[in-house]
């Protein structure tokens, strides 16, 4: 993966090349072995005026004339591209593929970036009414507080924990620790959410190489096996959901993923979950089954999601501290899972990682994916 952050030093295509070269070197293969490319990207048209990202990626990686396809599922674009790569290899259509995600969001004003991101919701019924993404997650947070007594401090503690983890990640956008006071005293964006409850606007790219497990074992030193890949959907508009305190798409994808892997939530040691907002991390660790519904706030307060606690959540720093280049996030989470399983997590390495899970969400929960990994 590329370094995440405000990458004024790198163009969209440079980010793709940076992550692509790293993935090829890591997997010890030559580009000529790759037969197809699947790239996730949410809104390059709005951010850069550039579409046709499939062609751009394959061209920049010097891999013409192989097939290359862009996939879009808002902030879940990366993991949806990853799943397409899995299906392409599992079907036997291709032997080896490259999957990636990329987004360059800092070329436009914050207002224009927010409008572009608003397209992940229901343009006609949410964005039209002035609903920003922080506003949609704030509506969920308010309900979670009402139904389960979750507090603003518990939400802020997610950000404190993720900055702590991010401070140990050289690829993270924010490598500084923050205090609970800093988070609690930050400006209100959409009440009850404050600035430090929100993930940032970021640039970045991430790439992975996929092939059959038996083949990977012959090629690279520490191959990682995908033991579950699931995806589910829900209503595009938040107001139409049965519940505002859970993401049903996450619950459905998690159930399928645990069935595929023949595992239970307690078998997972590290999880990269989609914390676009702190309340999203609280709902995610509940919907994924790590904590009972309504109990995650207290668990976070007790430090049960910190590095090397009950479960290490967002060792990368999460979307909050590592950054959230929307199309890249889903693949970046997978890169972190791979590093944790290989013991390459550096200062943020969790102990005894046997199974790692990644959870990526599009919009306010209309798309969710869950992947589970182990050492091959």
């Amino acid at each position: 993966m590329s370094k995440f952050g405000e990458r004024w030093d790198a163009s969209f295509r440079q980010l793709v090349a940076e992550a692509g070269i790293m993935a090829l070197k890591d997997s010890k293969i030559d580009g000529s072995a790759i037969q197809a490319v699947f790239g996730g990207c949410m809104a390059s048209g709005r951010f850069l005026g550039q579409e046709h990202i499939g062609a751009l990626i394959v061209d920049q990686l010097g891999l013409n004339p192989i097939a290359s396809t862009r996939l879009e599922a808002a902030c879940a674009s990366g993991s949806v591209a990853f799943r397409s790569g899995i299906m392409a290899v599992a079907s036997g259509m291709y032997d080896m593929v490259a999957v990636g995600g990329v987004e360059k969001m800092t070329e436009v004003s914050v207002e224009d970036a927010a409008t572009a991101l608003g397209g992940a919701g229901d343009q006609e019924w949410e964005l039209f009414q002035g609903a920003t993404f922080p506003a949609l997650y704030a509506l969920m947070a308010r309900r979670h507080m009402k139904e389960y007594g979750t507090t603003e401090e518990q939400m802020a503690l997610c950000a404190v924990k993720n900055h702590e983890n991010g401070s140990k990640n050289p690829y993270a956008q924010y490598q500084n620790k923050i205090t609970l006071e800093t988070a609690m005293n930050s400006a209100v964006i959409a009440s009850p959410l404050k600035l430090f409850d929100c993930s940032p606007i970021s640039d970045g790219a991430a790439v992975a190489i996929l092939c059959e497990t038996s083949k990977a074992k012959k090629i690279c030193e520490q191959p990682i096996e995908i033991i579950a890949s699931a995806q589910a959907s829900d209503t595009l508009a938040l107001a139409q959901r049965k519940s505002l305190t859970e993401l049903n798409a996450t619950k459905v994808a998690a159930k399928q993923a645990f069935e595929q892997a023949k595992l239970k939530p307690k078998d997972i040691q590290t999880a990269e979950v989609h914390d676009c907002f702190t309340i999203a991390e609280i709902m995610a660790v509940e919907d994924l089954g790590f904590f009972e519904k309504g109990k995650a706030g207290k668990a976070i307060e007790a430090g049960e999601t910190k590095l090397n606690s009950a479960i290490s959540v967002n060792t990368s720093g999460g979307l909050k501290a590592c950054g959230h280049p929307v199309g890249a996030t889903g693949v970046k989470q997978i890169v972190e899972a791979v590093w944790q399983l290989r013991g390459q997590g550096g200062q943020r390495q969790a102990n005894g990682v046997e199974h790692a899970l990644t959870h990526n969400v599009g919009g306010s929960g209309a798309t969710a994916t869950v992947h589970i990994f182990k050492r091959a």
């Binding site: 927010a114 949410e126 039209f128 002035g130 704030a138 969920m140 209100v188 139409q240």
Partner: protein
């Protein structure tokens, strides 16, 4: 489509499925419960409801600069349908989960000084 071509937006006209009786807003063409067995017809939504959740938006969306901060809520109507909209003309202490609200016809935003003005529903505290 311009706003005036979407009557649901200012009249709160949704749909109801004659098969399963569930009501929807905005309108749907296919009932998600019954699919092909369903039959959707237009249905006027109640113009009253209760605040189900709310937020005060301090970092407003583009086009809403002049009214920021503004309050958005998801309102639950007696038929179980929930809609997202602004809460207007209310003292902040009155805006709570459970507060009764009534739909009103208001300007949503204007596309610049000479552009199209979009109208639609917003909500007002009922009492």
């Amino acid at each position: 489509m311009v706003w005036r071509e979407i009557p649901e937006r200012y009249n709160l006209i949704g749909s109801t499925c004659e098969n399963c009786k569930q009501e929807f807003f905005p309108q749907r063409l296919i009932c998600p419960n019954c699919r092909r067995k369903g039959k959707l017809v237009e249905k006027k939504m109640p113009d009253e409801g209760k605040i189900f959740s709310f937020t005060q938006v301090h970092s407003g969306a583009k086009g809403f600069e002049n009214e920021t901060p503004y309050t958005l809520a998801i309102v639950e109507m007696p038929n179980g349908v929930r809609v997202l909209g602004h809460i207007v003309d209310a003292q902040p202490e009155k805006i709570k989960i459970g507060t009764k609200v009534k739909a009103v016809f208001r300007r949503i935003f204007a596309e610049g000084e000479e552009g199209i003005i979009a109208y639609g529903f917003k909500f007002k505290v009922a009492d």
